[in-house]
Amino acid sequence: EDQVTQSPEALRLQEGESSSLNCSYTVSGLRGLFWYRQDPGKGPEFLFTLYSAGEEKEKERLKATLTKKESFLHITAPKPEDSATYLCAVQAKSDFGNEKLTFGTGTRLTIIP
């Protein structure tokens, strides 16, 4: 069974204080690892898909990296508007492409002005 573990559960940072969120996973053949941002009462918003170990993707102050066992979401010089819950999910390889996503429980990030 596919599993995703995210740490820490919650993180409070001062504005401008860089840090990283961790996502450890086990999956029977990885097709993709996804990062989403979720604001309270809203649906997850797509950030990145990573497909193979060594891959990196960046968007504004966010950078996602992938190894064979975990992924990191690095946040550089965060601003208060980066406050949200960050979800990691894995998708296994299958005979058809749109295999289900298995999510972690998320990291709740708070950026203090």
Binding site: F96, K100, L101
Partner: protein
């Protein structure tokens, strides 16, 4: 370009009742998946519909059923509601792999279901 639209946004039901939630996928998407998200948890996969058929199913009882229409929109039905069914129900749409590369699922804002 409209994203994924879900209705209603909020719903309160009594134990034992039945509920129907609705989802219109993003324009151009043909696959719809439903997820249940309890408070403080990550989304849990319920099932996925493609070409009007259930293609995958998660570990949810038969009280949870669904339907996809020819225009790709979808419904989630839950019978005999339990208190534990209270959650945010999310609809996600995507392209089928055989037609488009995968850029991630697009989620709606969800329906908040409260069972009392």
């Amino acid at each position: 370009d409209a994203g994924v639209t879900q209705s209603p946004t909020h719903l309160i039901k009594t134990r034992g009742q039945q509920v129907t939630l609705r989802c219109s996928p993003k324009s151009g998407h043909d696959t719809v998946s439903w997820y249940q998200q309890a408070l403080g948890q990550g989304p849990q996969f319920i099932f996925q519909y493609y070409e009007e058929e259930e293609r995958q199913r998660g570990n949810f009882p038969d009280r949870f059923s669904g339907h996809q229409f020819p225009n790709y929109s979808s419904e989630l039905n839950v019978n005999a509601l339990l208190l534990g069914d209270s959650a945010l129900y999310l609809c996600a749409s995507s392209w089928d792999r055989t037609r488009r590369p995968d850029y991630g699922y697009t989620f709606g804002s969800g329906t908040r279901l409260t069972v009392v």
